[in-house]
């Protein structure tokens, strides 16, 4: 087994055999997590400041989906552990934008609010989740769901939420828990989950990076299992899994290996994507170069909306 594959057993043996796997997904945009994930969501390479609390310039997949298909607000959701992702739900595009986006849930933000509402110590440190800049937490200013809305929307009491969080090891586990609540209570047609634990790599601790990879691998398996166990989803759901980009190569003297993604070298730009679900061919590897901007037009081709302002192209291998 090639070095490192022992850390991703769920992806390799549980999901890969069911998936079409794109092995050369090349990100030609900015390698910062928020701006890159926003680019994934719009199908266009966004160029805003990665650390600014701003909406994407181009319409997001959620806006295309809701506007073209006339879907209600409760049918598209984003769950993201990092506070920096609070504006990812809808763009600043005039033809789409406000009112057409997805609901955004930031579980850590909710958790800090839930715990702060009771007497006791401050949990502000939970919000410092930007591993690229220690101690820094993005400002809010988007339309993320607030604590009282969570109880309403997810039918989950603040006390139960806080109690459950106390037995979880990481923010990503909390995100997957919230995603499952969403699936059970609202069964949205479009659900976007961003996992962020792996970015602990910026601290330079390889063991913590490995643990995060193993946890993420397990959580990906759990999400797929959740899909198969929920009647609203089982047998009629397509799941895409992809990193936003890679990390610097060990061989690039300008970087420091796994720790960062600053060099723009081929390894930091090249990653992969897997797709699985009804109609998607199983155990197929696509080796031609693709780009993450192809995701949104592909989703448009599957779901029936027109990602007219995206820069990518639908991937025929999964259509």
């Amino acid at each position: 087994m090639p070095d490192g594959q022992e850390n991703i057993p769920h992806l390799l043996t549980g999901l890969m055999p069911r998936a079409t796997f794109f092995s050369q997904m090349v990100n030609r945009g900015i390698l910062g997590h928020y701006v890159a994930t926003a680019s994934l969501a719009t199908g266009s390479y966004e160029t805003f400041n990665n650390f600014a609390a701003v909406p994407p310039d181009h319409p997001t997949v959620f806006e295309y989906f809701r506007k073209d298909l006339k879907r209600p607000a409760v049918d598209a959701w984003v769950v993201a552990p990092s506070n920096g992702f609070n504006r990812i739900g809808e763009s600043g595009n005039r033809a789409y934008g406000r009112g057409w986006g997805a609901g955004v849930i930031l579980p850590k933000r909710l958790l800090a609010a839930a715990l702060s509402s009771s007497e006791g110590p401050s949990y502000e440190h939970l919000l410092r989740d930007n591993y690229e800049t220690p101690l820094y937490a993005s400002e809010l200013g988007g339309h993320q769901i607030e604590l009282h809305q969570m109880a309403e929307v997810l039918r989950l009491s603040v006390a139960d939420f806080a109690a459950h969080a106390r037995v979880l090891a990481s923010p990503d586990e909390l995100s997957v828990y919230i995603a499952r609540q969403l699936m059970r209570q609202l069964a949205p047609s479009l659900l976007w989950i961003t996992l962020h634990d792996i970015d602990i790599a910026h601290s330079g601790t390889y063991s913590l990076y490995l643990e995060a990879i193993q946890r993420t691998d397990r959580l990906c398996g759990e999400i797929w299992n959740n899909i198969q166990s929920e009647p609203e989803y089982a047998g009629k759901t397509t799941m895409f899994i992809l990193p936003d980009f890679g990390r610097d190569s060990d061989d690039d003297a300008g970087g420091n290996g796994f720790q960062h993604h600053r060099t723009g070298d081929p390894l930091s730009r090249t990653t992969w994507m897997m797709a699985m679900g009804p109609g998607v061919r199983e155990n197929l590897v696509v080796e031609r170069p693709t780009e993450p901007t192809d995701l949104v037009p592909t989703l448009g081709a599957i779901l029936g909306f027109d990602a007219r302002l995206s820069q990518g192209k639908p991937l025929p291998e999964v259509l």
Partner: protein, 401 residues
Amino acid sequence: MLPRDLNASQFAGYPPQARQLAVGRVALLQQLPIAFLPLLLREIIVYDWKFPPERTELDHQLAYLESRSPGERGQLLAGFQKLRLPPALESFDWVNEPGQFSEQLTAHLWATLQIDAFRTAAIDYVRTVNAAAPHAPPAMSRLSMVVLGKDVAENKYRLFRKLRPYGVYFSHVRPENGLRILLDAAASRAQAHPAPYGHWYIDGGSQETVSSEGLVRFSYDSLATARAALQEKMQKTFQSGIGPEAFRTMLARMRPEELGMGDAPDAVLTRFQVSLLTEGSGTQIFSTTFVQWAAREAFRRAQPVTLLLRFAPRQRARPMNELLAETQRKPELDPQGSLVDADMGAYYTWLNQQRLAGAATSSFLVWFENHNEALAIGPALSRGAESNSPVDLQDLVKQVS
């Protein structure tokens, strides 16, 4: 301001040696592209605190640029010349704040999708300049010795997995007196071949006693006061609500005296130590990260011929449920996680050593402290081999010396 408008008086704020260097080259600097010149000034402005090899390289670089005809220089720097910069960057005070200019330039290049063109231009430039003045091999063969796994009683992680293809894995090492042997070996090399900043010992815990004036040495613990001062400043800056760019600028401007290091006798080394804490991500918190980054920067900048690294247990990263259970708790150590960190750190140290001149004759030794495993790489050693013969650290040092 554009480079052609430069004059000598604009370098009045530079430290003495940097000022002399810049003033003596104004005619050259005036001819360099705006996307390149501030990056060169970023190196010149810290000339007073550079290690000898860095000075030599910068001197070579300037001499090479001066020796080219305008046409040759234009061709060499054409990749930089083609980059599109906004007026705001041109009007920035890049003479006195080249570091901040560099940060803004980087952000602009990413945002305008010009970062790949910049990367290509930079690689081509460095390759050409280095080819014109190849680095001389070191006066003695380079040797790195890495000690890892302090306080680990039992280990199931397969050590040295990335290094094994390049050397001999020893599975029956006699550990007795091992650390002392390696310390003495480093000291002995420093005494036999004295060179400014040529021999280093960096410890991730507290420093062991070692007798050699010629050995640069410091430990994570020895910087505890500076780290505490820095963390306090970082905390206050965070609470003030400034953005990440300003946060990084604050770190980049940090001076030794602000961290209680103003009285240190060696200004060059002190500046280096400050840079480890302010430019390294995670070095303020995790000792394993600190040691790996310190080794990387020592090789990149000082190019020592002897480097002894000792990783020690870092503090344990607490999972979310523990953080929720109580916010204040005495930090615990994580020896096993630190061993895994250090194993990768050893590999990166070897990679960084092999980037330097004289790589073909360089050697490397890594040992699992107080245990029986070690790996040695050197010109006289086999690659991808394994030895089950009993051996002690003294034998291993001989094999890599």
